[in-house]
């Protein structure tokens, strides 16, 4: 008894940090005000984790100072393809429709998996950090229902890259590909794109979807026009700029990874510091506004964070696919949990994992481009999460649905048995009132509900398995003691609810049966108690109140 009470109590109180969206509105205030305070130390914790990650990355890169490092850096900055990841030695000649994948030999496998190549380590560190940061920021973007914003930002950043290149070439010829400068240009253009979307939304009758499509296509078109122009420039080693479109993880060098790592760390710190505000913004913008949070500022901050992730992802994943890094891990994490902070960590982990797997795969199979493999890995993780995720996964939901159907079917059989016997009792007062003494046949039950003979047979067999019925001979059953109790309970629920509907919801007696049909299986013990109290005076004849309408076998 005590045990059940404790259980009930704990069931009533949602665990701290449960998503506010799933709470009842009256509780939102409390949860938002109080529960969120708990996330701040977690945020600090997370910042610590990121910092450690950054330090580890640094250690990983610095562990073995590679002699080729300087040469490497200059090479890829000059736009020459670095050859360790993604390219490999091209096979001399292949038959034309040959789609075979070359399997790596054991030595190569070990080299990649044990991270013996300096370049693999560099690229791996870069994409892992990027994936984690993207998952981290993407959660808020997803919850704020701005999933495609990242797409706008990434497309809009192209002219920024081109303009930055032109300006840097004009200022100091030959230095056009200084990465921080290019990324700064990309960030500015990306923010400008978002701003344009907002302006179009604010000052014209164009809807959001069209505004996003317009901005991204025009900015992208402008960027491409600029890129083609740049190819004509005398200094024009612009070949490398194309890598920002499709991504080229292999061209990453340690310096770039330091840049990406620092930026990701910064983004992570900002998210941790503003986790509470972003959380309120994501779930209930109006509530945030009434609480005095600077909604516009926070919105801009979120845009800036998205832009930040997009920009640092340009180099490895490419601007056409970087939006996947933002959406996919967050959407995948949503299947596993209802708790925001858990979801953020999970999304970061999924992002990092897909980054790592993508890079390893592309190191093992030279023909696979890292960016696409990263996205596909993410997609596989998403599909897996959608299937087996413990909160919203399809399997879990199917299972729940199946269980409910099972229970409902069982209760339908029981109620049909009860009503059949009740009918007999009414006609013949001499019959024994013991429910377990009478036989019910399949043919008796069939006209009572809208069910087919096949389904009825299956339900009967299942009820027999659950020890609710005993099969006497072919097609005849008798309720067990256990079954009789259950039948009484379910009929009582049904009739209590019917009476409640007639008395309080003013529903015609001819219609209550069907309405009660839906709810009888779900009535909790408290509701039943309340109903009993409420109706005790009018209908004192326990254990089962009589049916408020005439029970007749439905003719199906």
């Amino acid at each position: 008894m005590r045990g059940t009470q404790v259980n009930r109590q704990s069931a009533e109180r949602p665990p701290r940090g449960e998503m506010t969206a799933e709470l009842r509105p009256a509780r939102r205030l409390r949860a938002a005000g109080k529960g969120l305070a708990g996330t701040v130390p977690r945020g600090v914790l997370l910042a610590g984790a990121l910092l450690t990650g950054g330090l580890l990355t640094g250690g990983l890169l610095g562990a073995q100072s590679h002699p080729a490092w300087a040469a490497d850096s200059s090479r890829s900055h000059a736009g020459v393809e670095s050859t360790v990841v993604g390219t490999g030695t091209p096979t001399a000649h292949r038959s034309l429709a040959d789609l075979r994948i070359e399997w790596p030999d054991r030595e190569q496998l070990m080299r990649v998996l044990l991270l013996q190549d300096y370049n693999t380590r560099v690229v791996l560190a870069g994409t892992v950090v990027l994936g984690a940061a993207a998952g981290f920021v993407g959660v808020f973007m997803l919850l704020r229902r701005r999933a495609l914003l990242g797409d706008v930002v990434s497309h809009a950043s192209l002219p920024g890259i081109a303009v930055a290149f032109v300006l840097m070439e004009a200022g100091a010829p030959g230095n056009g590909k200084w990465l921080p400068g290019l990324l700064a240009g990309a960030a500015i253009a990306g923010m400008l794109g978002v701003l344009c979307t907002k302006l179009i939304l604010r000052y014209s009758r164009i809807k959001e979807d069209a505004a996003m499509a317009i901005v991204l296509s025009i900015f992208f078109g402008f960027g491409v026009a600029l890129l083609t122009t740049i190819q004509n420039m005398p200094t024009g080693n612009s070949a490398g700029l194309n890598h920002f479109i499709f991504g080229k993880a292999a061209s990453m060098v340690a310096q770039d990874v330091y840049l990406i790592g620092t930026a990701a760390l910064l983004l992570g710190l900002i998210v941790s510091a503003t986790a509470k505000e972003l959380r309120i913004l994501s779930f209930d913008e109006r509530f945030a506004a009434t609480q005095g949070y600077p909604v516009f500022g926070l919105d801009t901050l979120l845009m800036a964070l998205v832009t930040g992730v997009t920009v640092i992802g340009l180099q490895s994943v490419g601007l056409l696919l970087v939006v996947a890094m933002l959406i996919v891990p967050a959407a995948a994490a949503r299947f596993w949990t209802n708790n925001l902070s858990r979801m953020t960590y999970l999304a970061a982990a999924i992002g990092a994992l897909s980054g790592a797997l993508g890079v390893v795969a592309s190191a093992l199979f030279p023909r696979l481009a890292a960016g696409a493999v990263i996205v596909l890995t993410g997609a596989v993780l998403f599909a897996a999460s959608m299937m087996v995720g413990t909160r919203r996964g399809l399997l879990v939901r199917w299972l729940n649905h199946y269980r409910l159907q099972h229970r409902v079917g069982k209760q339908h059989v029981l109620r049909a048995c009860f009503e059949l016997l009740e009918h007999r009792f009414e006609r013949d007062a001499n019959l024994s009132r013991d429910l377990t003494e009478h036989l019910v046949t399949e043919d008796d039950l069939l006209p009572l509900r809208w069910w087919t003979r096949r389904r009825l047979r299956r339900l009967l067999a299942r009820a027999e398995r659950d020890d609710l019925l005993v099969g006497v001979r072919d097609g005849s059953y008798r309720l067990t003691r256990h079954g009789a109790d259950a039948a009484r309970k379910v009929v009582r629920n049904h009739r209590l609810w019917e009476i409640y509907l007639i008395e309080h919801a003013d529903i015609a007696p001819s219609r209550v049966d069907r309405d009660a049909d839906d709810i009888e299986h779900l009535l909790g013990i408290e509701v039943v108690r309340e109903l009993e109290q409420l109706l005790a005076e009018q209908h004192p004849q326990f254990p089962v109140p009589p049916s408020p309408h005439k029970i007749e076998p439905t003719t199906s």
Binding site: D151, G221, L321, A324, L368, L376
Partner: protein, 477 residues
């Protein structure tokens, strides 16, 4: 600068005309499905389709190549097969992306945009990978898909004619799309604006959706090959959105978006020739000759969109601003007239009111000056030596205004429990929007009052003399 531009445009020849024609045809072909994407609010679906068709194209290439390598089709018909397969592949992948998105959204309970994002990036990544894997048999350069080769359309001629193949292909797609729109206009219209009604009329909204996706994808693919994906994405949505700023009718939307697509093709190519040399010469790069036409057509589309956003006749920002400014002037001048009248009610009222007193209205000194100028121009006040004087026309309008004000105050006092000092505020706003009929109704409803709640006399102004109709909408300004 203009001279430079003229000189550059002077080199325009038949090549340029063919390029513009190709871009215009491709843009117009894309604009047609774009109109329906915009009115159905599925623009991002169009953007997503432009990514997802890539795996469809690759699959089609591989299929045709497989047929050829097995010797089932000869080299002569290879191209035709490849094209047919490409269209089929694109349509299949268009429907597939729609179905997948819907599935992820409904089954996984993922938000619509996120579902779209997951599906299109995945399919696009798959396409990119398969290009790499099949690179030896499929000669698709991702860059080429992106940028297109519209500058070289003239090289590839349709066999037996002097017309570039791209013109024929895109023109054909345009004709097919026009036919589809013409035949299915009713169904498209109803299912776009009222899916529920469409369903009751027996039009399957879901199949319309899939059909639109398939047609969009096929159009995209045809244009991809010739003009590149940039132009396609821009021409899908931008012309339709521009037209949406200019008109409310579906027919107008279709016609205008076709026109916008054509105009942006012309302007885009001209920009591509003119803008880069001029801009880059100033930065010190003299060798830059032109930019990608596809990109610049997108930019031109954007410029047209901005133009429509500002100068649209009904929804344009400028017309909105003008409208608002006119209303402000009218309110200000009526406030000045009301002030005139109230000053005239006092016993020691001067016939000529000094300008300084008139400028003390709530609208501010500058607006009152503009208002006085406007009134003088309309002949409702005349300027005298020491100030201004009301003309008979001005007197009549002022009386009507004050009559509206005081009737409204009486009406509000009768029907709402409000203290007397709360009556003025609402009447001060409403007086500008009460027409003669409403005045008569108020007068009758209040059983012909003579005084307002403050005790001031309600002036009796005759209504409807010719030429002095005081409904401000019809007043020439």
């Amino acid at each position: 600068m203009i001279q430079e531009a003229c000189e550059l445009l002077g080199r325009w020849d038949s090549y340029d005309s063919w390029i513009v024609l190709t871009a215009a045809l491709a843009g117009m072909a894309c604009a047609l499905p774009g109109v329906f994407l915009v009115v159905r609010r599925q623009s991002m679906m169009g953007d997503a389709l432009s990514h997802t068709t890539l795996p469809g194209i690759v699959a089609a290439f591989l299929f045709a190549f497989y047929l050829k390598s097995r010797g089932w089709i000869s080299a002569e018909v290879y191209e035709a097969w490849r094209h047919a397969a490409m269209f089929a592949g694109a349509m299949a992948i268009g429907v597939l992306s729609a179905v997948l998105t819907e599935w992820v959204q409904k089954r996984g309970r993922v938000e619509a945009n996120a579902a779209l994002g997951v599906v299109f990036t995945t399919l696009f990544a798959a396409g990119l990978l398969s290009i790499r894997l099949a690179a030896d048999s499929v000669h698709i350069d991702p860059d080429c898909v992106l940028y297109g080769n519209i500058e070289t359309v003239v090289i590839d001629l349709w066999p037996g004619t002097g017309i570039p193949r791209a013109v024929v292909v895109n023109g054909g797609v345009l004709v097919v799309n026009l036919l589809l729109v013409f035949v299915l206009l009713k169904e498209l219209r109803i299912s776009a604006f009222d899916p529920a009604l469409a369903t009751t009329m027996g039009i399957n909204a879901r199949w319309m959706h899939y059909g639109l996706m398939a047609v969009t994808a096929a159009t995209l693919v045809a244009a991809f090959e010739t003009v590149g994906s940039i132009l396609v994405i821009a021409m899908l949505i931008v012309p339709a959105a521009t037209a949406h700023l200019l008109t409310d009718r579906l027919g107008g939307l279709i016609g205008l978006s076709l026109a916008v697509a054509a105009v942006s093709a012309v302007c885009g190519h001209a920009l591509a020739i003119v803008a880069p040399p001029i801009a880059f010469r100033r930065l010190g790069f003299a060798t830059v000759v032109d930019a990608s036409t596809a990109g610049m057509v997108a930019v031109a589309g954007g410029l047209l969109f901005i133009l429509a956003m500002f100068c649209g006749p009904r929804y344009g920002l400028i017309s909105k601003w003008v409208h608002r400014f006119r209303l402000q002037i009218r309110i200000a001048s009526e406030d000045v007239l009301g002030l005139f009248y109230r000053l005239g009610e006092k016993d020691d009222a001067p016939a000529v009111v000094p300008a300084a007193r008139l400028q003390s209205t709530a609208v501010g000194a500058l607006m009152s000056k503009v208002a006085l100028w406007q009134l003088a121009r309309a002949g409702e006040v005349t300027s005298a030596a020491a100030g201004y004087r009301l003309t008979p026309a001005g007197q009549l309008r002022a009386e009507r205004l004050v009559r509206s004000h005081r009737l409204w105050e009486t009406y509000v006092a009768k029907h709402f429990e409000l203290p007397d000092d709360h009556l003025h505020e609402s009447a001060h706003w409403v007086e500008h929007f009460i027409d003669p009929e409403l005045r008569d109704e108020l007068f009758a409803e209040l059983s012909e009052p003579t005084k307002d709640p403050h005790g001031a006399v309600i002036p009796f102004a005759a209504e409807g003399e010719p030429g002095t109709d005081d409904r401000p909408e019809t007043r020439p300004s």
